[in-house]
Symmetry: none
Subunit: 206 residues, 4 copies
Amino acid sequence: MGRVDEKKLQKRNSLLQTAFELFTTKGVVNTSISDIADRAGVAKGTFYLYFKDKIDIKNKLIGHKTEKLFEKAVEALEKEPQKTFTDKVIFVVNNIIDQLVENQALLLFISKNLSWGIFKNLIYSGEKGTSEQGIAAAFEKIISEEGDNLESPEIMFYMICEFVSSVSYSPILYKEPVLIDDLKPHIFRTVRNIIAQYQKVPDKTE
Amino acid sequence: MGRVDEKKLQKRNSLLQTAFELFTTKGVVNTSISDIADRAGVAKGTFYLYFKDKIDIKNKLIGHKTEKLFEKAVEALEKEPQKTFTDKVIFVVNNIIDQLVENQALLLFISKNLSWGIFKNLIYSGEKGTSEQGIAAAFEKIISEEGDNLESPEIMFYMICEFVSSVSYSPILYKEPVLIDDLKPHIFRTVRNIIAQYQKVPDKTE
Amino acid sequence: MGRVDEKKLQKRNSLLQTAFELFTTKGVVNTSISDIADRAGVAKGTFYLYFKDKIDIKNKLIGHKTEKLFEKAVEALEKEPQKTFTDKVIFVVNNIIDQLVENQALLLFISKNLSWGIFKNLIYSGEKGTSEQGIAAAFEKIISEEGDNLESPEIMFYMICEFVSSVSYSPILYKEPVLIDDLKPHIFRTVRNIIAQYQKVPDKTE
Amino acid sequence: MGRVDEKKLQKRNSLLQTAFELFTTKGVVNTSISDIADRAGVAKGTFYLYFKDKIDIKNKLIGHKTEKLFEKAVEALEKEPQKTFTDKVIFVVNNIIDQLVENQALLLFISKNLSWGIFKNLIYSGEKGTSEQGIAAAFEKIISEEGDNLESPEIMFYMICEFVSSVSYSPILYKEPVLIDDLKPHIFRTVRNIIAQYQKVPDKTE
DNA sequence: AATGAATGAGCTTTCATTCAT
DNA sequence: GATGAATGAAAGCTCATTCAT
């Protein structure tokens, strides 16, 4: 990569990072492109060299941040291996919830904007060259290990994702209707139930 | 009610109805107060006699529309009585999904804006004098009939609501990852499972 | 005066009083006719039955308040009679400055809006029926007593009024360039000097 | 200075000049920012690149115009040197009154808006780089020449300024209570008197 | 006489986008 | 590639005034 390209990448990242900070503190609507450019230290016109408009940078950010979320969870899983498939899923779910508790601005930003379309892209293509061990890779690995034992793995994952993210939102951000810590047992129990519905053979207990 | 008050109510409703049409066709952000007033056939200033700003009318609309959704479902339930508690819930869930399939603009509008806060208000207070048979009433009736047999009814309902609404969104609007009709059996099975988790005594089968 | 007329007068005074409070706290520009009517407890339309517009009520207020200022000063003078003509003037000047120190909102309101035109009206006509012992009366009494000894009494009074009011403004409100108490000796000395310029025969010292 | 900066300065001046014309003909309140921008031949948004709001441009104008007034008077004084200190002051006072008679719109604008705060700024700092021979310089020169002979020069100047400006206002604009030409002798006499109050040693007559 | 709902022109301000430099 | 001055449409909101009741 040439020095010029490096500088370009640096500028792009600076814009992304600044946009994220502003989006999560002031909200997407109240953040202007001027704000982003000013704080990133580039001219307003320069913004348009890297992104089409605010929606463009927003979508790229959501994908990027969601991917990071999963990546971290999978990394953690590798450090603390779990026996059964169900335990692995629960571990990942728990880890992601904990990350979101720590970073509520991120939760607010992601879930107000996440759509299945963006998510699907992550799983099936992944941003080229971004992460070698992205969601796509992790997902494929899981399928290769357990896929044969699952009825409709895609639907199952879709349902777990939607269920967990939507059910955690309010308890984390507003402690409503209960604290997230009090809800966790309920969430895990339901996730286990969902998985069981799709397993041809239950997890083996040794 | 005097003739003046009648006219006021009429104007208020006209503004609400117009706002809903514009919000669901153009989106909230792209709808200006001018648009609403123009199309409702009143002056811009008149809008501000009835609502504080766009957020105000939006929130009032969401509550109103969500309430209607549940009301219709409960009405239908009364016409086709179901035996067990679980069957009743599934019936309502199914009915609401069907309504949303028929009225996707409503789904788009509601779910982008619904928050547990608004929802809670509906259940626990209800807009006074609006509907005698609102969500609040329906909810109370259910609790009085089955509540004793449930472990944490509120959490259970919260989880079912979040699960159903989040999981149905994408299939209805974008047919992703599967058609809603193909997902329905999965949804119902999981709802049954969730309910079972909270029942002290399972539904009686006669 | 009939009961109806009484009520009307009451309403008028209520509007005047409310307007004054709002003008002096929020400023004339930031006070709307709605504000005045609301707070005076009458309908917006009623305002227009008593005053032409905001400028009308403003002018009437300035005249009224200025007159009160002089009236109080003259009253005080009668309780503490002064020997010479000059001493009387100084006494009145001092009393008015003290009133304005006590009521800075009044100073701000009056001097931003007072014009010689309004002032002249007070002296030469007086608002009919408002005060029997108004500025006009006081002014005439002074002229009748000392007028023969003065070269151009009107010009003299004009100059003293303008001098005192303009020179006191900033020291009272902003303590700039000096405190009003420190400026007073300077003011009095100059007022004495101005009077001396117009006296045919100096004050007699007994 | 680059061509761009030149154009910017030009635009700024165009806005200032246009604002002054509108403020003095229609009044500040009745002049909208649209008016200013339109007539200056720039877009409304452009106004906000140069000034924060209407108050901002108004204050900048008052300072600027007041400074010009004094500058001209001091220039004239240099062409017609006066012997004594008092004569110099009277000369300047007379010159300024004459300027205001010629430009009554300016008088209307300045004196309705001038405050001691703005004035003080002019004397003690002056806008950097604007005028080499501004008020500040003129003031300092006077002090260096006569200051030792004056008791409280600042208070004296404050009183003269306030006296002259307030006393001239109505006669110039409304010929009330007398014509300015008829009032001038009175004004000058009083100014002489004020000065005399502060001089340790009277003007020498050769 | 009193009301207050309705009006709509008009205000200030923002901001995505363009384009000459 | 980068800049940032300029644009001008469009937004939200206010408020003096009218007029049917």
